[in-house]
Amino acid sequence: MAEHRAGIEAAHQGYRFSRVFPFQGSGKALREKRPNALASFATHHFTLNFLSAAALCGAWEWAGLVPISPAFPTFGETMGALWSISADGSLAGAFAVTLQPLALGLVVSMVLGVGIGVAMGLSTKTEWLASPIFIVAQSAPLAALIPLIVFAYGIGLTSKTIVVCIMAMPVIVLNSFAAVRHTPKSLIEMGESFLATRRKVIIRIILPAASPVIFAGLRLGCASGFIGAVLAELLITPTGVGDLITYSRSIADYPTMYAAILSIMAFSVLFIEVLSRVEVMIFRPEKRAVS
């Protein structure tokens, strides 16, 4: 026993760092890098965003100059056309028409979609009742259905609004449903154990917990709704931005045609950005606290 202990002590005294570690002797300590002004400018998110957009526009300009097709204008020509249709008011006029089915469809899809989705998330019976409709609607070949819609509702505002809804609503419903269904169980139990009524649990816990995914669905749904609005104007009757696109193509004014397409895309991106800002402002105080 005593011998054994002595052995341990001897071993202890003999303990050395006998190996040379590979990082020793490189002479460089691991320190935080202090970014210089140029590097921090070059990697700033505005710079990188700008570079990304510039690369896209540059590629467009080059593709137009080659030209890959006589029907493909350069970026510069398109911008010129955008300027002239903005200046003569035809773009604003087209938007005023397109926005009617779009706004109507989006409002209906957002209100009804979130409502139905939340109801499905809260009750399995509603889920079983409603989910087949939206799963089918999500995979419906819309272009093939449009003649049917026109047959039933004519070529007016109603049909176009329905097209926007068919595009926008399923993703909003299915996201809201999944968001509500995946509320952390312990948060709901917390609400119940602190005597929240079912109504309070829904308003104060389930909806705030679900709001990030509900808003993700709203962003996706609105993007689809924009596509639906243009699709309706191209396939039902040419009005608004759809008319601008169709007419410009028919007279081979390709810069104006692409300017119209670009303008509706830009509007869509802008709208979705505003939606994200509204979300953070109203529903996500903890995100606001960090930024």
Partner: protein, 267 residues
């Protein structure tokens, strides 16, 4: 059980004043899995009773039945001699995963229970502030949960449960999601809290050391289906130095005796 261990903990004394009484409670999940079978146990007022057992023995299920969050399949739970039909104002719950609302700051999280009881904003914020200070988080009222460490988040959970001034505090493995050093600190703080608050604590844990360290009584459950295997009262004086408890022979022997007893379920 060894003869030595018998010197250090006694068979349970009869409970004269019980805050919570569990009578013949059974729980069957989905008609097939029996989680709890014929549980009869009294929780003495003003003391901390632990529910300890192998994982899957239904200790959390029993706690949630007492909380009124889960219905029992058979039997009943009495709190202050009244049968439990759901969550009530005399009980408050501390969650294993903290269950804080990420979109609400510390003050609103702590005041949540008071808000649900319909207490006016200024009053509930005043009460919440004093409990935030009591758990050592003064100055963090406007912070959000994601800005806090795990230990601080559970302090928020504890402050929320204390703020509603319930007689019975139900704690579901409250320290299992925090690290070892914070856990030791929490266990010491819990002893101070019990001494000061004179409330009834029901504490679920899977840690034998933790149960012996903090408990006046330990209810040992068997493996599934959970039944009461044994009730132990560790004969440990908790008045003095909190570190002395961990060196106390009664502490060490009780831990060992429980381990010997639980080991049989793990094979």
């Amino acid at each position: 059980m060894t003869a030595l261990a018998h010197q250090f903990f006694t068979e349970p004394s009869p409970v004269t004043d019980c805050a919570v009484s569990v009578r013949n409670v059974g729980k069957v999940y989905a008609g097939v899995v029996t989680a709890l079978e014929n549980i009869n146990v009294d929780f003495p007022r003003g003391q901390l009773t632990s529910l300890l057992g192998p994982s899957g023995c239904g200790k959390t299920t029993l706690l949630k039945i007492i909380a009124g969050l889960l219905p029992a399949t058979s039997g009943e739970v009495l709190v202050n001699d009244l049968p439990v039909a759901g969550p009530g104002p005399e009980r408050a719950f501390v969650f294993q995963d903290f269950a804080l609302m990420p979109w609400a700051n510390v003050l609103r999280n702590v005041a949540f229970g008071l808000e649900m009881r319909g207490i006016a904003k200024s009053e509930r914020e005043e009460i919440a502030r004093s409990h935030i200070a009591q758990v050592g988080l003064a100055g963090f009222e406007a912070r959000y949960p994601h800005e806090l460490s795990g230990g601080m988040r559970q302090r928020v959970g504890l402050a929320r449960a204390l703020a509603v001034n319930a007689d019975v505090l139900l704690m579901d493995e409250p320290f299992s999601a925090v690290d070892e050093q914070i856990r030791r600190k929490f266990q010491e703080d819990l002893l101070t809290l019990i001494a000061r608050e004179k409330r009834t604590f029901i504490f679920v844990t899977h840690s034998i050391e933790e149960a012996v360290y903090v408990s006046d009584r330990i209810v040992l459950l068997s493996a599934r289906p959970g039944r009461i295997a044994q009730i132990i009262e560790p004969a440990i004086e908790r008045g003095g130095d909190p570190d002395a408890i961990r060196r106390h022979p009664a502490y060490l022997d009780t831990v060992d005796a429980i381990w010997q007893s639980l080991k049989t379920y793990l094979e």
